[in-house]
């Protein structure tokens, strides 16, 4: 099947000489929920900018659903819906006008545009704001408006650049549920986010970019399998002894009831639980010190540096 997005040797050097992209290759399959991660300034937004035509590339190829942007940019753009990081609508326009106008730019007749606007306003909880100026919306509502605007022409590939920046937890979850739904309905999604636990929960495949180069590009499951070290925190009901040791494990008593355990690849926690059980200490909960993907992310960035 034709990939939703294929990038070959993409390069971008800005006028000041800064190399934002140093020949990246990337392929995103149709129907995928794909995470593009990287620290600030790694090249994520530049990549999205080139795909959406807001940034001109210095070299390489970008092919959207089989359409090369060098040959037919308008054709490629029809497949794309873009949710940029910064708000980029006219704040003095009415919410519904922003959506119907965007539909019009894709050649959708006004009557159909109104119907779709109605659908997305309802679906994203903005129906009662339709006559409001966009400047009167809260930050979360503005984010949802940008998602609605990106979907108004039914794109096959939706690219979201930090869609949950500044959005509260409840809204973030609702937004992700919505994205899961449209992904399940067939829309390919590429997401950039700094919430790595969200990327782990939502995405099937991942690319990590740093200093304009792809550090890794594989499935999240494969990536996490390579995690060499994980740190767990055990919350105990009983008071931990001042000294506690388990052969082969790195343990650290954080306070009277919390124990940090470092697990290397191949180890399991059975011996630790057995030792605690022998000492009549019951464990009430267990959690990763850091998100697993975050740990992997940090490891990979350190290696690439």
């Amino acid at each position: 099947m034709t990939p939703a997005l294929k990038i070959q040797g993409l390069r971008k050097t800005y006028q000041n000489g800064f190399v934002a992209l140093d020949g990246i290759d990337l392929e995103v399959a149709q129907g995928d929920f794909f995470a593009l991660l990287g620290p600030n300034g790694a090249g994520k937004s530049t990549t999205i900018g080139i795909i959406s035509s807001l940034v001109t590339k210095s070299g390489g190829k970008v092919i959207v659903h089989g359409v090369d942007i060098d040959i037919d940019y308008p054709g490629a753009k029809k497949f794309l819906g873009i949710v940029p990081q910064e708000f980029n609508f006219n704040v003095f326009e009415k919410v519904e006008d922003i959506l119907t106008n965007q539909a019009g730019y894709y050649g959708i007749p006004y009557g159909v545009a109104k119907e779709r606007t109605e659908h997305y306003l309802n679906r994203l909880g903005l129906a009662d704001k339709r006559h409001e100026s966009a400047r009167n919306l809260s930050g979360g509502m503005k984010r949802r408006l940008m998602i609605a605007r990106a979907l108004i022409h039914a794109p096959k590939l939706l690219i979201l650049d930090e869609p949950t920046a500044g959005v509260d937890i409840e809204m973030r979850r609702a937004m992700y549920e919505f994205l899961k739904e449209i992904n399940a309905a067939g829309t390919t999604i590429i997401l950039t986010t700094h919430y790595l636990e969200d990327a782990e929960a939502l995405c099937r495949n991942i690319a990590i970019i740093n200093h304009g180069k792809i550090v890794t590009n594989r499935s999240i499951r494969e990536l996490l399998r390579d995690l060499n070290k994980e740190v767990f925190l055990l919350d105990c009901a009983d008071t931990l002894p001042a000294e506690i040791a388990v052969n082969g494990f790195e343990l650290k008593r954080l306070d009277d009831h919390c124990l940090e355990v470092v697990i290397n690849k191949g180890q399991d926690l059975t011996a630790v639980f057995r030792t605690l059980g022998d000492k009549q200490i019951s464990v009430v909960s267990m959690r990763n010190e850091a998100n697993r993907l975050e740990q992997m992310f940090v490891n990979l960035l350190e290696q690439s540096a």
């Binding site: 006219n90 326009e93 106008n101 730019y105 050649g107």
Partner: protein, 257 residues
């Protein structure tokens, strides 16, 4: 995009532009009506009555076509310059740039927006002028053609200004330091016959001379320049400004990184 889709996109841009200036009518439509009324009172009635005839007409009759043209020029220019720069400033221009709309459709959308405001203001200013003088139309076809071509030309100039502007100051600098002097020196208030030969010749490099005189010819049947030359010059200016504007949009200069 199919031709029908392009037509829908064009209608959308035009509708958005018209809604924009109607929403802020007190800043876009009203000022010209007030300014021109003052011009009619001061230059037409008070001072004009002492000047006597110019070009075979009373000074009031002579000055009205130039003042209508002045309103068209400033409004079609200001509409596109401020709207396009505003869209650049708040990044909403990206809505258009990421969409499949061809550059020429975007450009025509803004041009038509500017033309409609220019024409609307011209109608208002003409209606106001009827309180001060009687208007005659020598050649309606020329009047309509000049109005349309002039508003297209200055909408294009406004677009170029909008593309290059970095701040809101930049979209007021050109009208203040370039457009206003060109208008005042373009024969709105006087006939080029009054100028010494050298300055009359220099004035012919001013596009305003051609639009004002062509319009005055359409209204009164008098002109300081040959009407064919005037039309040719306006059309040449329009073609050059259009091609340059299209080049700016296609190349993404000042619009894309």
């Amino acid at each position: 995009m199919t031709l029908f889709e392009q037509y829908i996109a064009l209608l959308t841009i035009v509708r958005k532009e018209i809604r924009r200036y109607l929403r802020i009518w007190s800043q876009t439509l009203l000022p010209s009506a007030i300014t021109m009324s003052l011009y009619y009172v001061i230059f037409g009635s008070l001072i004009g009555s002492r000047i006597g005839e110019m070009g075979g007409y009373s000074y009031m009759e002579f000055v009205v076509p130039g003042l209508i043209m002045m309103a068209i020029v400033t409004n079609s220019y200001a509409n596109v310059a401020s709207s396009f720069f505003g869209a650049k400033f708040n990044h909403s221009v990206e809505e258009l740039l990421v969409s499949p709309v061809p550059s020429y459709v975007i450009l025509w959308g803004y041009i038509i927006g500017g033309v409609t405001r220019g024409v609307l203001v011209a109608i208002i200013v003409t209606a106001v002028s009827l309180f001060f003088t009687k208007l005659s139309i020598n050649n309606a076809t020329i009047v309509v053609a000049v109005v349309v071509l002039t508003s297209v030309l200055f909408a294009l100039f406004g677009f170029i200004n909008g593309v290059f502007a970095n701040t809101f100051d930049d979209i007021s600098i050109v009208p203040t330091f370039v457009l206003t002097p060109l208008i005042y020196l373009g024969g709105v208030f006087y006939s080029l016959d009054l100028l010494p030969d050298f300055w009359a010749m220099v004035s012919r490099a001013n596009p305003l001379v051609y639009v004002v005189n062509a319009f005055r010819y359409g209204m009164l049947g008098v002109s300081d320049v040959n009407i064919t030359v005037a039309f040719t010059m306006i059309v040449v200016f329009v073609i050059c400004a259009y091609l340059y504007s299209l080049y700016l949009l296609n190349s993404g200069k000042r619009l894309r990184s």
